[in-house]
C-alpha cells in the first residue's frame, strides 16, 4: 500500500516537486529568520560575555560620562581596587567602507581579573608601549588574519572623522573559544590612547566593578557622582538586548507568514492527491483496507513530503540566513547598537524548531484531506461533480468559521495588550479571511460569469464555470495567493505609511539650512562653534548635545537643544499646550519627551520624570510629548538653558545654521568650510542632503522587510502554480474532449490562462480588504506596541494596483505551463490515458 502511494507521488513529479518546494521555501524563511535572530542574539551574548567578563556592576555617568578623577579617588582614597575604567568608541577601517571596529579603551594594569578574554596576548613589542605610545592597539588574532595583518603592522583607522595610522601592538589569542568569537571586531587600546583618539581626555565612559557583597555595593553607591548610576552589568546587558526584541519578534512573525502560505500548499497537494485517487481509495476500502489505514496512508504521504520538504527547507534556510544575517546586523547597527555578527549561530534548537514546524504544519494541513479520504465509501466512483457539490455545501460553514476567526483576531488586536496577542490576532485575521475566500469566490464567479460570457462568449463563461466547478482546487490556490498578496499590500502600505510619516516629520524637523557635526558624534571644539555661528550669512543658529542620562535603574537618551525662536515649530506636539510647553521648556525645569519615550515609560504631559543631574536626582515636568521618528527607544529633550544650569558641560555635538530665506545651502557650506579651516574635521550636511541620507537609512532598515515580503510572495507563486497546475492536469481529459469537439490549441490555452487570470484576479480583489486590514493592524497596533510610533495610514493606489497586478501575473504565470502542455499533448493520447 505504501509502495502504491510512493508510486503515485512519483508519477506526479511536478506536483510533488512543487509541494516540496512550497514546504521548503516556507521552512527556509522561518529557519533563516530564526537563525539570523539567534545569531544576532548569540553575537550579542558572546560579546557581552567577553567584554563584561566578571564585571558585576558598572558605574555610568551623565552625558559627559564620569570624570576620571572620580575613578582615581575611588582607588587611592577609598581603596576600591576591583575597578576598571573603560572608554568605548567606534572606529572605521579606512578603505573598507562599512566595516567598523568597536574600540575599547582599558587600563591594562587595572584589568586584573575582569576580562578573561583579554588573556593570551601575543606581540613582538613590549606591551608597555600600549600605555606609553599614543598609537597602539591590540586586535583579535582571527581579525588580524582576516585583514592580512600581524603584530607590528600598521592599520589605518578613521576615528571621529580623522584618519589615524595605528600600530598593531599585539594579537589577542583568547584561550576560550567563546572569547575568540566574542571579541570579533573589537580593538583594544590603552585608555589613554582611546581618550586622545576619541577626544575624551579627562572622562571615562564607565567604570566596571567586581563587587562581592551588598556592603560593597552600598559603599559604592555612597561614593557615586551625583549624576552617575550604579547598575548591575547583567541587567544592563539585558536591557540593551531587550531593545531589539520587538524588531526580532516582527521578523519572526513575517517568517511564520511565509510558512503559513506554505501550509496552504501542502493542504492543496494532499487534498488533490486524495481527490484524484478517490476511485483507488474506494477500491482499497472494498478489498478490506480500514479507514484507519487509509488515514495513515495519507498522513504517511504528508509526512514524507513534509519531511523531505522541511529538510530541503532547512538547507535552503541555512543558505538564505547569510543574507538575512547581514541585513539583521545592519538594522541592529543602524537602529540600536554596534554589534558585529560575523558568524551564523547554528543552534540545533533553531533547526529542530524548523523541523518541528515544517513537519507539524504539513501534518496539520494534511489532516483534513486525510479525514476526507477515510470518508470514501467502498467502490465509490463518485464523480468530481458530486465531490464539488459536497465542497460547495460546506462553504457557508467554512466562511462562517472564517468570519468568527476574523472577529476573534480583530478582538485580540483591539482589546488585548502586548505584542504576541497582536500577532496572534493578525494571524487569526489572515486564517479567517482565507476560509472566507472559497465562498466569496463562488459568489464572485457566479456574479462574473454572465459578464464574462458577454465579453468572451462561451469560452468566457466556461472559464468562469471552470473556476467554480473546481472550487476545491481553485479556492485553495486563491486563498494562498490572497494571503500572500494581502501580506504584500499590508506590509507595503505599512512601509509606505511609515515612510510618508517619517518624511513629513523630516520636513518639519530639518529647519536649518546646514547642519554641522563631528563624524562619530564627537564634540565640536568651542572655537569651531564660534567660527560657524559667526560666518557670513548665518542669521540664526541652533545647537544640539546628545548623551545619556540616568533615571533610577534606567538610562535615557538625552537631547539638549539650543533653539532660536523661529525654529520652535520644528517640534510637532502630540500632546501639550505649545505656548505653555515652550515657556516651561525654556525657563523652568521642564522637558519634552518623544512619543515612543512617553509610550515606553507611560508618561503623559504633566507627569514628572526623575533625572540624575550633578545636583542629584531631580524631578522634571513633562511639558509636551513630541512626534519623533529618529529612535524607537525614545528620548528626553531638554533646553540648553536648563542643561547649562545643572551640568557643567559646554560640549556641543551638532550645530544647525539658518540663513535668511532663499539661502543657497551649498554656498553657505563653502563659506563655513573656509571660516573653520582645519580646526577640526567637520561634517557639513545641507538640509536636503540630511533628509536624503535619513531616508536612505530608513529604506535600508526596511530592506529586510521587503526581502521577507518577496519571499512570502515567492512561496505563494509556487503554491498557486502547484494548485492551478494540478487542476489543469486533472482536467486533461475534459480538454481532450474539447479538442475532439473542435477547440483549437489556442482556444484551450486561452481557456486555461483565462481561468487562472480569473482566480488571480479574484485573489487580488479579496486580498485588498485583508491587506488594508493588515496594514491597519501593523500600523495602529503592532508598530505602535513595538516601537511606540504613531503613523498616519497612507494607502497608495500604487501599492494596491501593484498587488492586484502581482496576483494576476502570478496566476497567469502559473497557467502558462499547463496551458502550453495541454495544447501540446495530443488529445488522442489524453483520451487513451483516460481509457487505460
Amino acid at each position: 500500500m505504501l509502495r502504491a502511494s510512493l508510486r503515485y507521488l512519483l508519477r506526479h513529479p511536478w506536483q510533488l516537486a512543487l509541494s516540496l518546494l512550497g514546504v521548503a521555501l516556507g521552512v527556509a524563511v522561518v529557519v533563516a529568520v530564526d537563525l539570523a535572530n539567534q545569531s544576532a542574539g548569540q553575537a550579542f551574548n558572546l560579546s557581552a560575555q567577553s567584554l563584561t567578563g566578571r564585571t558585576t556592576h558598572q558605574v555610568l555617568g551623565g552625558p559627559q560620562g564620569i570624570p576620571e578623577s572620580w575613578y582615581v579617588e575611588l582607588r587611592t582614597r577609598h581603596g576600591v581596587r576591583q575597578a576598571a575604567p573603560v572608554i568605548e568608541g567606534e572606529a572605521r577601517l579606512a578603505g573598507q567602507p562599512g566595516r567598523s571596529l568597536r574600540l575599547l579603551g582599558v587600563d591594562p594594569l587595572a584589568e586584573g581579573q575582569f576580562r578573561e578574554s583579554f588573556g593570551g596576548l601575543a606581540g613582538e613589542q613590549p606591551l608597555i608601549r600600549l600605555m606609553s605610545q599614543p598609537d597602539q592597539l591590540a586586535l583579535l588574532d582571527a581579525d588580524l588574519a582576516e585583514l592580512g595583518l600581524a603584530p607590528g603592522d600598521r592599520i589605518r583607522l578613521e576615528l571621529a572623522g580623522r584618519e589615524h595610522d595605528l600600530n598593531v601592538a599585539a594579537a589577542l589569542r583568547p584561550e576560550r573559544e567563546l572569547d575568540a568569537r566574542g571579541l570579533r571586531d573589537v580593538a583594544v587600546m590603552d585608555i589613554g590612547a582611546a581618550q586622545e583618539l576619541l577626544g575624551r581626555a579627562g572622562w571615562l565612559d564607565r567604570v566596571d566593578l567586581m563587587l562581592e557583597s551588598e556592603a560593597q555595593v552600598e559603599q559604592l553607591r555612597g561614593l557615586l557622582p551625583a549624576d552617575a548610576q550604579l547598575l548591575e552589568a547583567e541587567a544592563r546587558n539585558a536591557a540593551l538586548q531587550q531593545m531589539t526584541r520587538a524588531f526580532q519578534l516582527n521578523l519572526t512573525a513575517f517568517s511564520l507568514l511565509a510558512l503559513m502560505v506554505g501550509a496552504f500548499l501542502i493542504f492543496n497537494t494532499m487534498t488533490f492527491s486524495v481527490v484524484q485517487r478517490r476511485q483507488l481509495l474506494g477500491l482499497l476500502r472494498a478489498v478490506g483496507v480500514t479507514r484507519g489505514q487509509i488515514f495513515g496512508l495519507v498522513i504517511f504521504e504528508a509526512l514524507l513530503i513534509g519531511l523531505l520538504g522541511t529538510l530541503a527547507g532547512i538547507a535552503l534556510g541555512l543558505a538564505i540566513s547569510h543574507v538575512l544575517l547581514d541585513l539583521v546586523g545592519r538594522t541592529i547597527n543602524d537602529l540600536y547598537f554596534m554589534l558585529s555578527i560575523s558568524e551564523l549561530a547554528l543552534s540545533p534548537w533553531s533547526l529542530a524548531k524548523g523541523l518541528l514546524l515544517g513537519v507539524g504544519m504539513t501534518l496539520v494541513a494534511a489532516l483534513s484531506p486525510a479525514l476526507e479520504a477515510t470518508g470514501t465509501p467502498p467502490r465509490a466512483a463518485l464523480s468530481r461533480a458530486v465531490l464539488e457539490q459536497g465542497v460547495r455545501a460546506r462553504l457557508p460553514w467554512l466562511a462562517g468559521a472564517g468570519l468568527i476567526l476574523v472577529s476573534l483576531g480583530v478582538g485580540l488586536l483591539a482589546l488585548v495588550g502586548g505584542l504576541v496577542p497582536a500577532f496572534a490576532g493578525l494571524f487569526l485575521m489572515i486564517l479567517g479571511w482565507a476560509l472566507v475566500v472559497p465562498l466569496a469566490m463562488c459568489w464572485l464567479v457566479r456574479l462574473l460569469a454572465p459578464l464574462l460570457g458577454r465579453l468572451a462568449g462561451l469560452p468566457g463563461r466556461m472559464a468562469a464555470r471552470g473556476v467554480e466547478a473546481g472550487l476545491s482546487r481553485t479556492s485553495i490556490a486563491a486563498a494562498a495567493l490572497m494571503v500572500a498578496v494581502s501580506a504584500v499590500v499590508g506590509v507595503g502600505t505599512m512601509v509606505d505609511s511609515f515612510r510618508a510619516t517619517f518624511s513629513q516629520w523630516l520636513d518639519a524637523t530639518l529647519r536649518a539650512d546646514v547642519y554641522v557635526s563631528v563624524p562619530g558624534n564627537g564634540a565640536l571644539l568651542p572655537e569651531a562653534v564660534e567660527a560657524l555661528i559667526e560666518t557670513d550669512g548665518v542669521a540664526y543658529w541652533s545647537t544640539a548635545r546628545y548623551g545619556r542620562v540616568g533615571s533610577g535603574e534606567q538610562r535615557h537618551r538625552l537631547r539638549v537643544f539650543h533653539l532660536p525662536a523661529t525654529a520652535e515649530d520644528a517640534f510637532r506636539f502630540r500632546s501639550g499646550d505649545p505656548e505653555a510647553a515652550w515657556s516651561a521648556f525654556r525657563d523652568g525645569d521642564a522637558v519634552f519627551v518623544t512619543e515612543p519615550f512617553a509610550y515606553h515609560q507611560q508618561l503623559q504631559v504633566g507627569d514628572t520624570l526623575l533625572l540624575a543631574t550633578p545636583e542629584g536626582e531631580r524631578p522634571f515636568q513633562v511639558a509636551a510629548v513630541v512626534y519623533d521618528y529618529s529612535t524607537s527607544e525614545g528620548a528626553v529633550m531638554m533646553s540648553r538653558e536648563t542643561y547649562d544650569r545643572l551640568w557643567d558641560d559646554p560640549i556641543v555635538n551638532s550645530v544647525g545654521l539658518y540663513g535668511p530665506p532663499g539661502t543657497d545651502a551649498d554656498a553657505l557650506v563653502q563659506r563655513l568650510r573656509q571660516r573653520t579651516g582645519d580646526m577640526q574635521p567637520l561634517r557639513y550636511r545641507s538640509n536636503l542632503e540630511l533628509r536624503r541620507l535619513s531616508l536612505q537609512v530608513f529604506d535600508q532598515t526596511f530592506t529586510i522587510t521587503q526581502v521577507l515580503r518577496m519571499l512570502a510572495m515567492l512561496v505563494a507563486v509556487v503554491g498557486v502554480l502547484s494548485a492551478l497546475m494540478a487542476l489543469a492536469l486533472e482536467r486533461a481529459r475534459e480538454y481532450a474532449v474539447m479538442r475532439a469537439t473542435g477547440f483549437t490549441p489556442g482556444q484551450i490555452q486561452g481557456l486555461i490562462v483565462g481561468q487562472n487570470a480569473l482566480v488571480g484576479g479574484i485573489a487580488g480583489l479579496l486580498a485588498l480588504p485583508l491587506g488594508l486590514a493588515l496594514s491597519a493592524a501593523l500600523i495602529l497596533v503592532i508598530n505602535q506596541r513595538s516601537f511606540g510610533w504613531t503613523m498616519q495610514v497612507q494607502v497608495s493606489a500604487e501599492v494596491l494596483l501593484q498587488a492586484g497586478a502581482l496576483a494576476l501575473l502570478a496566476a497567469v504565470l502559473a497557467g502558462l505551463y499547463p496551458a502550453w502542455r495541454m495544447s501540446r499533448t495530443s488529445p488522442a493520447l489524453a483520451l487513451r490515458e483516460d481509457a487505460a
Binding site: E68, V72, G79, A122, I128, Q133
Partner: protein, 385 residues
Amino acid sequence: MKRWVALPLVMLVLVAGWWLWPSPPGSPDASGQTQSVTRFLSGEEAAEGYARITGPEALEFPRDHGAHPGYRHEWWYITGQLETAQGRHFGYQITFFRFNLDPDAPERTSDWGTNQVWMAHLGLTDTDGGRFHHRERFSRGGDIGLAGAAVDPFRVWLDDWRLDGAAGPDIMPLRLQAADDGLALDLHLDALKPLVLQGEAGYSQKGPDPGNASRYFSYTRLATDGELILDGERFRVSGLSWMDREWGSSVLSEGQTGWNWFSLQLDDQTEIMYYILRLDDGAIAPRSKGLFVAADGSSQVLQTQDVELEETRHWDSPLGDARYPVAWRLRIPSRDLQLEIEAVLDDQELRTGFRYWEGAVRIRGARDGEPVAGGGYAELTGYAE
C-alpha cells in the same frame, strides 16, 4: 641595588602574561617574550635613552625625595622589626617601585598616557605565628595620579597604599598606611639618625662601566610605632625601621646570578648594610660592598675584603627547586665584630611570578668582647630558576 629583583618581575608580568593572566603554557610567544626580556636586561643598548648616573653629584632635598622619572628604576623601601607590648614579634617590608619602561615615550594629552609603571610589595612576617604574608600591586604612574611620588609635602603612593611625610627638605616624620585583604599597617616613623649617603656620596657603582651605577641613600634607624592588623586582629606595635632610596638606569653585569643583601640594626646603636653579588662560578664579585653606620651617625664604606660571610644553615623551598641560606656568620675582623644571623622564619620566600626570599632576621653576637644583639632584613635572589 637589591631591588633590581623587581625589574625582571615587572617585565615578566607585563610582557608574558599581560593582564596578569597566564598564557598557554609552553606557547612559543611566551618564551619568545622571555628571551626579549633577557636581551633587554643584559644589553647595554637597552639602557639607551635613559638618564644615566655617571659620578657623584650633590643631592638636593626635598627634590631628591621625589621621583626621578627619567631613570629606568627607582624605589622607596622600608623594612622593620615590630613588637607588641607583650613581646610578640613581627617583621614588615613595604616597597614602592617605579619603572620607566619606554624612555622614548612622547608627550601625551591624556593624563593616562605614561611610560611610568609602579609596583608595590607588602610583606609581613608573623614570627610567633610562624607565617609569612605578602601582597603585590601594580599601577601606572603619570599625571593620572593612581601612583606616584611627590614632595612638599612628601608622599609616595600606589592606590591606597601610601607613605606620607612633611614638606621641606626634611620629610620626617613619616606615616605609612597600607591595607590589603586581612592585612593592614598604620605606622609612624621618625628618623633617629640623619640619612646617610651610600657609596661615594650617594654614587653607588655596580660595574666597571661608567653609568653602571645608582644613586643610593638610606635612613638606617627609624623609630616606629603604630598599629598592625592581621586576620582581623589589631596589634599596637613599636620598633625600628630602615628606609632605602635608590634610583638609576644601569643593568646587571654579564655573569651575575644573584645577590645576598643585609640590613642589620644592632642594639649598640650601630647599623650595617652589606651585599654580595654572586657570580656564575660561585665567586663573589669584587664590587660587593657595605656600609657601617656608627652610633653618632657617621658612616664608613665596607669593602669585600673587610667582611667575612659564611652560610651556616640552609632551607629548601617547598617547591623543591631552591635552597636558600637562612643562617650566617658575619665577621668584620677590623672592628672585632662577630654576628650570628638567622632568619626569624625559614619560609619568607615570595613565590610570585619572580621568586625571591626577603625576610626578617635576628642577630646575636659580640663586639670587642661585649655581647650585641639586634634585628634586620635579608634579601636573597637568584636561587630559584
